[in-house]
């Protein structure tokens, strides 16, 4: 049997006190690969079952297919492609990808390498004379935000405005009506409206004006699939803005934390520059920025192992647990950049595979390389560091280091 109730493990994972090290709880959870919860939802935590269901066309990302829809999802406006199924998902993702990656725009990400390197160098230059640095506030946050603003065509100086909204949205992702105040949800809904209104304002100015940023290119698109509606462009920009700066910050910070905990690895990265590529892959497995896909829906009955998940059920996918599954990865709790066959779930899998994955990889490779080269003998101030509230997008809220 894959289904039994494991009543208290999930709440403990979601509980903030376990944010610094949820991995032992994931191991507990994996004893029940498909765990039916009291509220009728299912939690999947093992690699084989996760990779299976991520490719299963009966799994829906559309909230309308839940028997008990998530509170207030409808109020957030036109869904972005992350919350849609084919064919709508495919069309919108294709329209967005036209301007971001192959086959139509193959060189965009690699072409940004000089810019990324310069941004990173500038941020590290500002460390000069400081003994204590917050890797999050001084580096891992401003770097990807600058990049995603540039890419989308969102003014960098507006960051203080949308930063508040983005935080409120992230906070409301794992809203639980039983345990959380209604306010948490309402703040998220209001923040979504504010952010969309803001992006809509930027979009209005783009119609008919040529330019290279994503908003402009989406606004003036004329490809074989036509053009997104303005509401669709706003929802896409909203998704990319949030995903583009609330995930990479965690990946870079988790990476630095992991290296600071392993000084020999940090030194090795200094002398073996090519190591950064497999090292970032291992990071995506070992300390991924996205731990949980909080909900998907069973469009019709789904068989997972010997469990049938009934139509309309809510399904939670514990990606970070799957990437630590000993049935898939040898010695999974060891950080090993030399690991072969590292098909982690750090970017998900299937049609919703992380849209910005290539960008996140490059950003993190450049960031970690520069940090290990330019920080003189860095040491952690507190271990574990304080974490952000979210169990979904998990990472330190500050990472203080001293350089000598």
């Amino acid at each position: 049997m894959t289904t039994t109730e494991a009543p208290d493990i999930l709440p403990r994972i979601l509980d903030y006190s376990n944010r610094a090290d949820p991995y032992p709880l994931y191991a507990e959870l994996r004893k029940t690969p498909v765990a039916l919860q009291e509220d009728g939802s299912y939690v999947i935590s093992t690699y084989r079952e996760l990779s299976g269901i991520l490719h299963d066309p009966h799994l829906s990302s559309d909230v309308r297919n839940l028997t008990h829809p998530m509170p207030a999802m409808q109020e957030r406006g036109t869904p972005s492609f992350i919350n849609l199924d084919p064919p709508e998902h495919d069309r919108m993702r294709r329209l967005a990808m036209r301007h971001f990656g192959p086959p139509h725009t193959p060189g965009l990400v690699t072409g940004m390498e000089p810019d990324l390197t310069a941004i990173v160098a500038g941020l590290i230059d500002d460390f000069a004379g400081k003994q204590r640095i917050d890797i999050v506030d001084d580096f891992a946050y401003p770097f990807p935000v600058t990049v995603i603003c540039h890419l989308l065509g969102v003014p960098r100086e507006d960051e203080p405005r949308f930063h508040v909204w983005v935080n409120a949205i992230i906070d409301s992702i794992d809203y639980n009506p039983k345990t959380d105040p209604q306010e948490k949800l309402e703040n998220g809904v209001q923040a979504t409206k504010n952010l969309r209104q803001y992006l809509g304002g930027l979009l209005e100015l783009r119609h008919g004006h040529p330019g290279d940023d994503l908003l402009t290119r989406l606004a003036n698109d004329n490809g074989p699939d036509g053009r997104m509606t303005d509401a669709e462009i706003v929802s896409t920009a909203n998704l990319l803005l949030i995903a583009g700066h609330e995930t990479t910050v965690n990946l870079i910070t988790n990476g630095m934390l992991t290296l600071l905990r392993r000084p020999e690895m940090l030194r090795r990265l200094r002398t073996e520059p090519d190591l950064v590529v497999p090292l970032v892959e291992e990071l995506l497995r070992y300390e991924p920025p996205v731990h949980i896909i909080p909900w998907r829906a069973a469009y019709s009955d789904i068989s997972v192992g010997d469990t049938v998940i009934p139509k309309g059920s809510q399904i939670m996918l514990m990606l970070a647990s799957g990437s630590r599954d000993p049935d898939r990865f040898h010695d999974p709790d060891r950080f090993d950049p030399d690991r072969q066959d590292n098909q982690h779930l750090g970017f998900g899998s299937g049609i919703h595979l992380c849209f910005g994955g290539p960008m996140a990889r490059l950003e993190t490779q450049i960031a970690l390389t520069a940090l290990v080269h330019r920080l003189a003998d860095p040491t952690l101030v507190t271990d574990p560091p304080p974490y952000r509230p979210s169990p979904v997008l998990r990472g330190p809220i500050h990472l203080l280091i001293d350089q000598n």
Binding site: S51, H55, P57, P86, P87, Y299, G350
Partner: protein
């Protein structure tokens, strides 16, 4: 000496000969070294030069994007081998365990791998095949020649055979706006591999891209001019077309002739072997020291009623080579079966076609996801009520799901609806043309009466 000692001795300083130095041969060699084989390794290949990748030859090389000599296979590790290239193997002597080369040399071995693959089936009329402008595409020289001919801007290209290679070449030519005629004996393109429903879609796709597609006709004659250049082709329906480039894409011939007198189970269908890649002898008994991998291998697949299946797929060559290498240096109890589900891909007319399973092993097919009209869909194949294969057009990310359905013998048609299931999805007969397997004729005769005397003798092929 115990068997284990013998095996250790073989791994340490035995002699392995690999005949066929292309994808399967190279990957097997790398895997042998990975497995700890430190003995002498000899690679025999009839082509000169480094092993290279063939799928790009009918795609990126023809478009000119990648030069013909730019598809050299990446080396995953040093294999420390002796390379005997440019001279084909001509015979195998199992009594003395050596391979004979065409130039008379003999190469001894303790164990050997046969990975001689397939060559292009030439145009059957030699004088016509020799005309300037008539091509096949199997080697990089073939591809380089055709690439030059296509780049020169021919007035029309005729492609004989609308299988995957022929269709890909037609697509490249249309991309360059070169007039193309495709002649196919079957009722539609790709029908032999994927059945009538996909065949009709492929036909629509070709015509929508301006291909002059002629199905159900045979090319009866290629006509040359006084300079020996091809200029016209005649068809069985009495029509003719002027073309200055003709591509013969009639599939392949397995390179087994050199094994004719070897005593192994060989024929036009390849070299028969068990699921662990060990060759069968003529009597159908498994041999100990001769292994087979890649396009030339024909092995029973437990997923498909243990039928013997040959696959000319890139991934199959890689996976089978690794299994063969492992089993060459392993004791019986540690051997692995080659059990992976076949996959292949093709790119044509802007569509990425991918398949998992064995589509020819099916009686029905149904579109399960997407839209045929948009050329974005997945079709599942079923045999006696279970899923046996799936094909995707521009929708490959779902195929992993169908691989699992095949592995678990899941019911066909898939019972539960998906978000983008076509409303009118109904299974239809898969409809492959002709009983091709039965048409090959006998390859052996049996002699002897007592069980201890019963033996098989190979028949000479009349082809």
């Amino acid at each position: 000496m115990s068997t284990a000692d013998t095996l250790q001795g073989f791994k340490r300083d035995g002699r392995v000969v690999i005949v066929g130095a292309s994808l399967a041969g190279l990957r097997a060699a790398e895997a042998l070294r990975d497995e700890g084989f430190t003995g002498k390794l000899t690679m025999i290949g009839d082509e000169l030069g480094e092993p290279y990748d063939r799928p790009p030859l009918s795609k990126q090389v023809l478009t000119g994007w990648v030069p013909a000599d730019g598809t050299t296979l990446p080396r995953r590790r040093d294999i420390d081998a002796e390379w005997l290239l440019g001279v084909p193997a001509d015979g195998l002597d199992l009594a003395n365990n050596h391979v004979r080369l065409a130039d008379g040399r003999t190469i001894p071995f303790d164990r050997m791998l046969i990975s001689t693959g397939v060559r292009a089936r030439p145009w059957p009329v030699e004088a016509e095949a020799a005309l300037d402008g008539v091509f096949v595409v199997r080697t990089r020289e073939d591809a380089a020649g055709l690439q030059r001919a296509v780049a020169a801007g021919p007035s029309r290209v005729l492609i004989i055979g609308a299988g995957f290679t022929g269709s890909e070449i037609a697509s490249v030519c249309r991309e360059r706006d070169i007039p193309v005629t495709v002649a196919e004996l079957a009722p539609s393109p790709l029908v032999g591999g994927l059945g009538a429903m996909i065949g009709e879609i492929a036909a629509d796709m070709q015509r929508a891209h301006g291909v002059d597609l002629r199905c159900g006709v045979k090319v009866t004659q290629l006509e040359g001019d006084a300079q020996g250049r091809v200029r016209r082709a005649h068809f069985s329906d009495g029509s003719a077309v002027d073309a200055d480039v003709v591509v013969v894409a009639l599939g392949g011939i397995r390179n087994t002739e050199w094994l004719r007198d070897s005593g192994l189970a060989v024929g036009v269908w390849g070299v028969a072997c068990d699921a662990g890649c060990r060759a069968f002898d003529l009597n159908g008994l498994v041999t100990d020291d001769i292994f087979v991998a890649g396009d030339v291998a024909r092995s029973p697949n437990p997923m498909y009623e243990y039928r013997f299946i040959s696959l000319e797929h890139w991934a199959n060559a890689v996976e089978q080579a690794e299994i063969a290498a492992h089993n060459m240096v392993s004791a019986q109890a540690d051997r692995w079966p080659h059990l992976s589900i076949p996959t292949f891909w093709s790119i044509q007319f802007g569509v990425n076609i991918k398949s998992v399973g064995v589509p020819t092993y099916a009686d029905e097919v149904v579109v399960t996801q997407g839209s045929v009209a948009d050329h974005r869909f997945v079709a599942a194949y079923g045999y006696h009520g279970r899923v046996t294969a799936a094909v995707s057009f521009n929708n490959a990310k779902w195929l992993d799901h169908y691989r699992r359905l095949i592995e678990t013998a899941a019911p066909f048609p898939p019972p539960c609806p998906t978000p983008d299931q076509p409303l009118d999805a109904k299974p239809v007969p898969v409809d492959f043309p002709g009983p091709t397997l039965l048409a090959q004729g006998a390859t052996v005769v049996v002699t002897g009466h007592d069980p201890g005397e019963r033996r098989v003798t190979a028949m000479r092929q009349h082809r």
